[in-house]
Symmetry: C2
Subunit: 492 residues, 2 copies
């Protein structure tokens, strides 16, 4: 079978698009910058959602749902937030279409149905939510208020990319309210930890936890924390953010509460989110020139069983054995699929499931069956082996754990090998071009220098790592004194 | 505690709003016609979604996600569908806001950022989905294509009502493609059955399955099937619809497939949906003047345990027993919550959980504990009894099944008592005013008569029941001959 994907070494970006499209994760749509998430991609997102949702609930959060539309006047209320998102907002201005008098069968927005106040399609929901919280919070007894929302949001990006940057995307956004600064700060970091745990334990994706520079903060936040991951091409990808919003939104929306001491005070806030971008991160971090490699804990199907018939007589016997094996695996909680479609040959199926990234493939033929074994192939290493049929469910359960672990270990090794330190501008720029990855370097702490570095080297400060050791040094660009290194990279 | 809800007998409509708002299901929002689904309401919707989702998957469907926006030209493609929804569409015309030059701090849609083609916020997704299916379907091997989407949709309704009719609502929409008319028709009825099973077995809500008259069909459908339920005020509520779309969308979007016989043919289609409206149906069908009554199979919390302390010394002992009891129930899969908040009194809690509709409340005090019993109150009948602590988890598990069953039986009895036959216009109109409910009556089969009846009596034909017996009779309005009775009601 000929290779159907562009090779990573030839054109990484094209390889990514090929992989997403041909593995059935997503498709382009008729709407500029929006994509269709296909069943395989959506099943992956569902698994991510379910795990994250359970983690949010375990940390005391409840789900709710707020309107898609934000009236313009509310959107304007928190000035920095409005400024930050105004340039990429889809705006609803009419509430009706009517027949076009000049063009039979066509419709136009009805000029008599112009909204009194334009509605912004939410790019994020702080405004609509904090306007609601004003009515929900009166006293310290109402705090903390810990709410999450699963929703679609729209940001009119000019350059889009499947999963990584789309005009509409799916995400979750947590919005919490607290009585004290300390409590809100602790929540911000707690949710950052939840994201890091999810990335590492489920996505098999090592991440750096850090805080953004003021330049890179969420519009309206006092501090933005993030998890940053490294992709196979050495570019960084921001995989999740958690914002400490201070009292900015409480002040913009007049959300006060009565303290135990009977004083009126503004509420403290956080917000945090991850999106379908994580699906893109998963692809870019793990997959290869033959297609997806999915971590077992998130793979919609963990084991695919392919019967290899030898003439029609062999079918009932082989099918029965496949069913038995699948049933035994299901009792262990393994997600297994039997593909006994007779219209496609086993070889075609092997390639197809490689493309789709199923962690384990089992082929079951008559001869193997007679010998009490099956041929098992793992997707991550491509190793094939003959495995005894007896108690195969235990073997497979253990192997899935092992694959998950090895995928993480491999990604961690890659990241460690591609995290370097640079002490001069030349070192820094040479590294960026020759061996891209994270570069730990000194920066003088000014927004101007940060901007200049971005302009000259196309690299940004991804974050200042949490618990970053202090170290005297000189800024790679200006030579001015610096107290700590920060993490640079070219990024998605 | 004084009653906080308007009584049903005083003002049913106000009672409904009071119940939804004060039980914490939903809240009004700053956006006209849109509501906020609060944590209690969302948890209920999540339970509904999870059950339905499993039923869809068990019948072979996969989830996917399609864009929120429909380009105007696609929206126009299926003419009847476009006509049907044009009058209630939110339309995006701009993709950017800019600072208002005449009003500091305010924003306006940027006149330089007008979309070349207006985007309709999906009121339903046939157009965007069938435009995509054209690329996914080439041959009979690609069929059937069985896809479902969980999404938000927007219909700019003029008169809105919490859950029952909101401008934005959450729903699922199934969109399937088939090789033959028969296959598509079978799918339409299969999903109608799924909805009926869900309503009856989970919502404890008896429904009538039927087909809509041509007047009441979904715009673009050849046949619309529905499930209809009766609310406590005798009004009917359409709880779900399943549409046989014929080849209308395939023709509008040129979706053809190669048959086994090597011919190009248009694909056959269905679509089907239920929405957050079901939450409203649940409230209206079961609840009483003290608040919600939730069926156990969908209740976010099935059992609430309230410790009744007698001085601080009793707390550790009572808490330990509550924890033990809760743990035992959880092993049976029972959703249980302990409310040991010391800031509110037990009496307040009793009323609060009555309002919120938890099926079973258990109060645990020292004396009862010493006697090896607890006080248990069921929400549906308000009966209280002393129940032995030993193996209480088994008792509770059985009682939850019993409550579910009795709620259904009661609703069925109510519906049967409120389904009548009328043979004359006078009987018909008198019944509608005096004893509203379903009325089975003869109709001459013309859209004109149907319209006239609606105008005169404010009642609509809810459906023609499946397997409706043929019976000669005379139309209640015109006296013209009729071959069968149809089901009328005033409706939400």
């Amino acid at each position: 079978m000929s290779k159907i994907l562009t090779k990573r070494s030839e054109d990484y970006s094209q390889w990514y698009n090929d992989t997403v499209l041909k593995s059935g994760l997503a498709d382009y749509s008729a709407v500029r910058g929006c994509m269709v998430i296909k069943p395989h991609g959506y099943a992956l997102w569902e698994n991510m959602r379910d795990v994250l949702d359970a983690m949010f609930k375990a940390t005391g959060h409840s789900n709710a749902y707020f309107p898609l539309f934000v009236p313009k006047s509310l959107f304007e209320a928190e000035e920095k937030n409005a400024e930050g998102f105004a340039k990429e907002c889809a705006v609803v201005t009419h509430y009706r279409l009517k027949a076009d008098p000049n063009n039979k069968g066509k419709l136009i927005p009805d000029p008599e149905a112009v909204l009194e106040e334009a509605l912004v399609v939410r790019p994020t929901s702080e405004a609509i939510i904090w306007n609601t919280y004003r009515n929900w919070i009166q006293s310290y007894r109402d705090l903390p208020l810990l709410i999450n929302q699963w929703a679609n949001v729209v940001r009119w990006e000019m350059r889009t990319r499947l999963f990584l940057r789309t005009a509409e995307f799916l995400w979750q956004e947590g919005h919490t309210a607290h009585a004290t600064r300390e409590d809100a700060e602790a929540e911000t970091l707690r949710m950052l930890d939840v994201y890091a745990t999810f990335a590492e334990e489920y996505m098999a994706l090592p991440v750096v936890k850090g805080v953004k520079t003021p330049n890179e903060r969420f519009a309206g936040a006092e501090d933005t924390y993030c998890i940053e991951a490294l992709m196979q091409d050495g570019k960084a990808l921001q995989a999740g953010t958690s914002h400490f919003l201070g009292q900015n939104f409480a002040k913009a929306f007049e959300v006060k509460f009565l303290t135990k001491e009977n004083r009126q005070e503004y509420v403290w806030a956080t917000s945090w989110g991850v999106s379908t971008r994580l699906v893109g991160a998963l692809v870019m971090a793990h997959s290869d020139d033959d297609g997806l490699i999915l971590p077992p804990r998130l793979a919609p199907v963990q084991v695919v069983i392919i019967p290899v018939y030898k003439g029609p007589d062999s079918k009932p016997e082989i099918d029965a054995k496949c069913d038995e094996m699948a049933a035994a695996m299901r009792t262990k909680g393994i997600r297994v699929k039997i593909d006994n479609d007779e219209n496609t040959r086993p070889g075609w199926k092997y390639a197809e499931y490689e493309l789709k990234g199923m962690p384990i493939r089992i082929a079951m033929g008559l001869r193997d069956m007679a010998n009490g074994v099956v041929e098992l192939a793992r997707r991550d290493t491509k190793e094939k082996s003959l495995v005894p049929l007896e108690n195969i469910e235990n073997y497979v359960a253990g192997l899935l754990v092992d694959i998950q672990h090895q995928m993480y270990t491999r990604a961690l090794k890659f990241r460690n090998e591609n995290t370097r330190t640079a002490d001069t501008w030349e070192e820094f720029t040479t590294m960026l071009d020759a061996t891209p990855g994270f570069i730990s370097a000194h920066w003088d702490g000014t927004p101007e220098t940060e901007e200049k570095i971005k302009e000259l080297a196309k690299a940004t400060i991804r974050c200042i790592q949490l618990n970053n050791p202090l170290e005297d040094g000189k800024c790679i660009l200006t030579g001015n004194p610096s107290k700590q290194r920060v993490l640079f990279a070219r990024a998605y």
